[in-house]
């Protein structure tokens, strides 16, 4: 066995082109505003002891209720003649301190309970969570009032009360996350590494939960400050003469009409403080939450942007093809780098023909399929060049309305995972009927009849009864049949199937392949079949195109390509596949890894892994050389006939 095939070299670490966390935060104007305000408020509040402020608690009845901008009292004085500015700053300090400590206490105990409940499960979980439920069943202000009533009024007791009533919030959130994490494989792996439950919980799970805790904290601090203010306003928090925003508000209440500034000043402060915390908190959440970070916030538009620029739009190939893709290029802009996922792909499909698009993960085969009908999300994707003709019509130049009509109409897709493509809350019948009526003006009854017809077409037994089944009630194979039925609902001319059998068991896979093969012959529909499996290609496809690093490297009839591969990559790829009945066939691995499409080498992308590489492979563009119409290979030194076997 050769080890050269296995040696993986560590490449020097490249600086990621994705923007960093801080850059992302600063990019969000609202969050930045919040952060600046918050920092300013905190700095002023912290600096209270060194600022030239009068004592906040010294009364001066002679100077009572001075208006704003009075001499020596910028914000005026309250009913006891105390300086409002000084009280405001000292009070903000107290409110911030109480709000933050309450959050930290609630986060600590809540997360601890959530972690333990989520990891232990079973009885412990039930016990803890029912306890939490009981706390939640009390109106929170009533609970806080009861706690303060028992412990006596005072800022510290108010803090405990607020922390306690917020524990359930953390506990529930964290338990949910922990529950999901503790079923993950890396937790099993940690158990097998000999770690104890406590070690797993705090060393393996906690770091993964931490962002959620931070997010929850950032969104609750503002709420906690409000609650503290509420309790103080009721006279249960800070006790006179100590200033805190809530008690200042409470003191101003009685003289609201004679001296409104006494309550408006702390009121405004509470507003600004909580607002800045919430804005900042939302920004933090957007950055830390992996789902939002993955781009859920950027709403992709209904159709991939087409930016063909000034480059010439290639004309149709001239061969009478149903679907004719010419020099199509699709790119993704991520951070500052451009990923050329599809770098000039041309392919044609005739009526009733099945073309297999084969490649490894990352070769761009799925993006090719999605680009044809503009299903690549924008941003970050865009079609940067080329054309796709459906019966002579340029799809990239068509209007959005026209594309909507064609999607699911003349061109239909079948995806890999039928469970995630079907809506879990609607019956199979509803979804099928929707697919039909979107394109055809049929009455409900006619649509139902058509749906039954379609389900029988894909050989689903008891089609009529199955109409009222939900996707989860069907097996994987049945679900994929339903997806195929939906794709066929409007007499699709072209079916684009993206690994439709990869998630299925072999016996089910063979059923689906046989079905698709029968359907295309019956209905004369063309299939673009995307797969990584040469076995599947053999069973179904007339022709095959092999993709590598975003380009087609070899194309031809299935038999030709499989028996006489001319591109070294195709030959190597076929050699890798273990074949049933040939157990002693040595599995020949391909050394190295495919290049990353944001940094493609000059010349042939396969050169670094190719056993036949010559110096001229690394320079200039290598064309797909077509011979006898069907056969094409993008290689300067192709394998000759018979040499590959």
């Amino acid at each position: 066995m050769t080890d050269t095939a296995l040696t993986a070299q560590a490449k020097p670490k490249q600086k990621s082109s994705r923007p960093g966390t801080l850059a992302l935060l600063l990019n969000n104007t609202l969050a930045t505003t919040g952060l600046v305000l918050l920092v300013a408020i905190c700095l002023i509040a912290l600096a209270a002891p060194i600022l030239p402020l009068p004592d906040p608690d010294v009364t001066a009845p002679a100077n009572r209720l001075l208006p704003v901008f009075s001499e020596g009292h910028l914000l005026g004085t309250d009913h006891l003649g105390r300086d409002l500015l000084s009280r405001l700053i000292w009070g903000t300090q107290v409110s911030l301190a109480v709000g933050l400590s309450a959050t930290i206490i609630a986060a600590f105990f809540g997360s601890l309970l959530g972690l333990v409940a989520g990891y232990a499960g079973g009885r412990t979980d039930t016990l803890i969570m029912r306890g939490i439920d009981m706390v939640m069943a009390f109106p929170y202000i009533l609970l806080a009032l009861a706690i303060v009533a028992v412990l006596g009024p005072g800022l510290l007791n108010a803090l405990y009360a607020i922390a306690l009533v917020n524990i359930p919030f953390f506990a529930r959130n964290i338990r949910g996350i922990t529950l999901g994490l503790s079923r993950r494989e890396f937790v099993d792996a940690a158990r097998l590494s000999g770690k104890s439950p406590a070690q797993i919980l705090f060393i393996e799970i906690l770091p993964n939960v931490l962002p959620v805790i931070v997010i929850t904290m950032s969104t609750t601090v503002g709420w906690m400050i409000l609650e503290t203010a509420g309790l103080s306003f009721l006279g249960l928090g800070a006790q006179p003469p100590q200033a805190d925003l809530g008690s200042m508000l409470g003191e101003g209440r009685k003289i609201l009409f004679t001296a409104p500034h006494v309550s408006i000043v702390p009121g405004l402060m509470i507003f600004v403080l909580v607002m800045s915390i919430n804005l900042f908190g939302d920004g933090v959440r957007d950055i830390l939450d992996p789902r939002l970070r993955a781009g859920s916030l950027t709403r992709p538009v209904a159709r991939t942007a087409v930016e063909r620029g000034n480059s010439e739009v290639p004309p149709p190939s001239g061969q009478a093809a149903l679907l004719d893709v010419r020099e199509m290029r699709t790119e993704f802009q991520i951070g500052t780098s451009v990923y050329k996922a599809v770098g000039g792909v041309s392919l044609g499909l005739k009526d009733g023909e099945c073309l297999g698009l084969v490649g490894e993960s990352g070769s761009g085969k799925s993006v090719t399929a999605m680009s044809i009908m503009g299903l690549v999300p924008t941003p970050p994707g865009r079609i940067a060049g080329g054309a796709a003709y459906l019966e002579g019509e340029d799809l990239f130049a068509a209007s959005d309305k026209r594309i909507r009509k064609l999607r699911g109409g003349s061109v239909a897709y079948v995806f890999q995972d039928p469970l995630s493509t079907l809506h879990p809350l609607f019956t199979v019948g509803d979804q099928l009927k929707e697919a039909i009526t979107t394109h055809q003006p049929l009455s409900g009854k006619e649509a139902t009849a058509r749906a039954i017809e379609l389900l029988s077409l894909v050989r689903i037994p008891n089609a009529k009864e199955r109409l009222s089944a939900y996707p989860h009630e069907l097996s994987g194979g049945m679900r994929q049949r339903v997806c195929i039925a939906m794709a066929l609902a409007n007499d699709a001319r072209v079916l684009i199937a993206d690994e439709p059998t990869t998630a299925l068991d072999v016996t089910v896979q063979s059923q689906i392949l046989t079905l698709m093969n029968g359907l295309r012959r019956e209905r004369n529909a063309a299939i673009l079949f995307i797969t990584h499996d040469f076995g599947v290609v053999s069973a179904l496809c007339d022709r095959v195109a092999v993709m590598y690093a975003g380009r087609i490297v070899e194309t031809g009839t299935t038999e030709d390509v499989l028996n006489n591969p001319q591109h070294p990559y195709t030959a190597k790829l076929i050699e890798c596949v273990p074949v049933l009945g040939q157990p002693d066939r040595r599995l020949d691995a391909i050394a190295g890894r495919p290049p990353v499409v944001n940094n493609l080498p000059d010349g042939c992308a396969f050169a670094d892994r190719c056993p036949r590489v010559k110096p001229d492979c690394r320079t200039g563009e290598i064309e797909l050389v077509t011979s006898d119409g069907e056969r094409g290979v993008r290689c300067l030194h192709p394998l000759s006939e018979g040499a590959a076997a």
Binding site: A189, L192, G194, M478, V506, V579, P583
Partner: protein, 340 residues
């Protein structure tokens, strides 16, 4: 790859699984009655001999992953026993998890998901060394270098995080972690099914080399018959939680006894093969909450008889050419009828 079965048969059994059963659900409800129960694995018996690779094949839901979890002690059987070198595994798992983890290790299906995204590779690989061995810091460092060397990864990788790795590299880290504490038996649960074919070949070759270098025994679980055939000495075919067929890999793939094995082989696509056998759409797994009385495969079987519907075949109902080749079938295939 395939050792001669002659000396294999003489090897003592390293792991013995006898009449193992794992039931999910079935707990008592609050107000009497019982929740519905599902038998994930039922009446399963087999030996794993020292130094062999036992392939376990079956479709999703056949209980092969449950079997894997039972063997490594991540789950405990509800009936029957599993013994390792004569020692009861369930008792060991309860008494001393670490002792078990030193003997039997596991390689996961999804290589990236099995690595904690927030730990460096060093932390991940050091964990079993810290918790399962007595090595001191210097020895651990040496062992880490050895492990990386064994799975052909550059030492620089140690300080990186899992998301920086491709599937094939991540799987090699997973394999290194399993090797760390020097186990005798490694359970490989679909170790290559998440990988591209070219990478799959690399990992399979690596597994072969490691087995020879460290004298390992493998249980290799996969749904891919051709992969199993190329790595296994013996093969167990599972269907609906039970053993359908067990025997030397060559015998099973050349002359399958059970119609289910035959169906699997005919359904598998292969380059250059145009005709796939396809069943009717009605061919589905039986309802696990309401299992059939007779053979679970009878409903899909072309050879079913009254006996098949009434009575479950025992695991060694049918005998093949060699004495170790057995199948749970009342009406086994004979040589002429198989695809040979």
């Amino acid at each position: 790859m395939n050792g001669p079965e002659v000396w294999m048969a003489d090897n003592p059994a390293l792991l013995t699984i006898s009449e193992v059963e794992r039931v999910f659900g079935g707990a008592r409800k609050l107000f009497g009655g019982r929740e519905p129960a599902v038998h994930a694995v039922q009446g399963l018996s087999l030996d794993v001999r020292k130094g062999e690779t036992l392939g376990v094949v079956g479709e999703s839901g056949c209980g092969k992953s449950t079997l894997a979890r039972l063997v490594v002690g991540l789950d405990l059987p509800t009936g029957g026993t599993i013994t390792f070198n004569g020692e009861d595994l369930s008792a060991l798992a309860k008494r001393d998890r670490k002792a078990l983890a030193r003997k039997i290790q596991y390689v996961f299906q999804d290589p990236v998901a099995s690595l904690n995204p927030r730990k460096t590779i060093r932390t991940i690989l050091e964990a079993p060394l810290k918790h399962l061995t007595e090595l001191n810091a210097d020895d651990r460092e040496a062992r880490l270098a050895e492990l990386l060397q064994a799975v052909n990864l550059a030492p620089e990788f140690l300080e990186r995080y899992p998301h920086e790795f491709s599937g094939g590299q991540a799987q090699r880290i997973g394999i290194a972690r399993a090797l760390a504490a020097g186990p005798e038996l490694i359970v490989l649960d679909e170790p290559v099914s998440a990988l591209d074919v070219s990478v799959q070949a690399q990992v399979l070759n690596l597994l072969d080399k490691l087995k020879a270098d460290f004298g390992l025994t493998y249980i290799f679980i996969s749904h891919d018959l051709s992969v199993v055939e190329s790595v296994s000495d013996r093969v167990a075919v599972m269907y609906f939680g039970r053993m359908a067929e067990l025997g030397p890999a060559r015998d099973i793939f050349r002359t399958p006894l059970h119609p289910y094995t035959d169906l699997l082989m005919r359904s598998a696509p292969a380059p250059g093969r145009r005709d796939l056998l396809a069943e009717d759409a009605s061919a589905e797994l039986p309802d696990p909450y309401n299992p059939p009385i007779g053979c679970a495969f009878a409903a899909r079987c072309a050879r079913q008889s009254d006996l098949c519907l009434k009575q479950k075949p025992s695991p060694d109902e049918a005998q093949g050419g060699s004495p170790s080749h057995i199948a749970a079938c009342h009406r086994p295939l004979v040589r002429a009828e198989t695809l040979g």
